[in-house]
């Protein structure tokens, strides 16, 4: 979120990335673990930087050539500093471009870290925003977090898709929404909910064909909770869901290890779900809650 609103909001940086580079966006938790060709190439590049212990995060910006030679590692959030480093890397690349390099053929594909949306299923774009409760700040980065709208994807299986088409909201889907998507991910990677954190959960399709629900989540330590209502609608044509919208609105409290800085006490958190049309490259990004265990996410 921070980078989208600061680093990549600098027009000159964007122009350089559009015209002089091949830009790629990764959740490095995948590539640093992948036992396959892509993972090998990522680790070759990252191992030349300071974050070369692949049991921990390798987060940052990297610039490399097609041979895998690292030209830059930077994890500084100063947009102007990154712009200067990008320009320097471009000069370094021009002075010593790789010779005789061929495209790397993907010989191995690690199935655990290469997942696709369920065939015949649905992808819904999930967004969350804290509507109120923050103290005023003059800090530019804090302000970005306070106004942030997060993004994740909800995956729906073929069987669940069919059930919705028949006017039934699947219980497993309701559980998945509650555990992995009713989270405050507006400041970073959020803790998900355990199944025992679900104190109340009801999502159903009414006689009028509307989606209605209520949820009450509270973790075991009772230092994080969300009590909310859900409302939505969908449209079915020839047994297939062609439109779907769902809104969850309620009171959240608490924060996680990587989501520090939540408003004090209870605060209103809105979460929206909208059927993806596949036009956004992010529509194919796996749900955060499925990372490394898709079957657990879908169960």
């Amino acid at each position: 979120m921070l980078d989208r609103e600061s680093t990549f909001a600098v027009p000159e940086t964007v122009r350089l990335l559009q015209s002089k580079f091949i830009p790629v966006a990764l959740d490095q938790a995948y590539q640093r673990r992948q036992k396959d060709t892509e993972g090998d190439f990522y680790r070759k590049i990252a191992s030349q930087g300071p974050r070369n212990n692949f049991n921990g995060t390798t987060q940052g910006f990297y610039i490399a050539d097609a041979a895998g030679r690292l030209l830059l590692y930077n994890n500084n959030r100063d947009p102007q500093k990154l712009l200067r480093l990008i320009k320097k890397s471009l000069t370094d690349f021009g002075e010593n471009p790789p010779q005789g390099i061929l495209p790397i053929e993907p010989e191995k594909l690690d199935p655990r870290w290469n997942v696709s949306p369920p065939e015949g299923g649905l992808v819904l774009r999930v967004r969350a925003k804290i509507l109120d409760g923050y103290k005023e700040t003059k800090n530019e980065f804090q302000n970005i977090f306070q106004c942030a709208v997060s993004r994740d994807n909800l995956w729906v299986t073929k069987e669940e898709h069919e059930k919705i088409g028949q006017g039934e909201f699947p219980a497993k889907l309701a559980q998945r929404i509650a555990r992995f998507h009713l989270v405050d991910n507006t400041r970073g990677e959020p803790p998900m909910w355990d199944s025992t954190d679900i104190r109340e959960l009801k999502i159903e399709i009414t006689d009028k064909g509307e989606i209605r629900g209520e949820v009450n989540l509270l973790n075991r330590k009772a230092d994080r909770g969300y009590e909310a209502k859900l409302q939505g609608k969908f449209e079915v044509k020839n047994g297939k869901v062609v439109a779907m919208e769902l809104v969850c609105l309620g009171d959240f409290f608490g924060e996680g290890r990587y989501t520090k800085g939540a408003p004090e006490g209870k605060f209103p958190l809105a979460i929206t779900f909208k059927l993806a049309d596949g036009t956004d490259i992010a529509d194919r990004v796996p749900p955060q809650g499925s990372r490394g265990w898709l079957n657990g996410y879908l169960q």
Partner: protein, 83 residues
């Protein structure tokens, strides 16, 4: 004893949590539409104009074909997705 105390504290929190008035507004149909619109993506955001790839080998192939360097945005959580 430790479990009993923990259960008691949880109960207190649940009771306190439930007794506070809700800060969120009612979820009417018009409120739903307003939130869907408010939380929708800004299609004109500058970072969206960057032609991001999501596979490093695809990026390497393009880098070979165009003689350009690769810029990798590697985050905890997918930069285009999570958070």
């Amino acid at each position: 004893m430790r479990y009993s105390l923990s259960a008691f504290l949880t109960l207190l929190t649940v009771l306190a949590w439930g007794s506070q008035p809700s800060l969120a507004q009612d979820l009417s149909a018009s409120k739903c539409q307003a939130l869907l619109s408010e939380l929708d993506a800004d299609k004109n955001a500058l970072w969206r104009s960057i032609p991001w790839k999501t596979n490093l080998l695809a990026a390497q192939k393009s880098a070979v074909e165009t003689s350009k360097p690769i810029f990798i945005w590697a985050m905890d959580g997918h930069p285009l997705g999570c958070t």
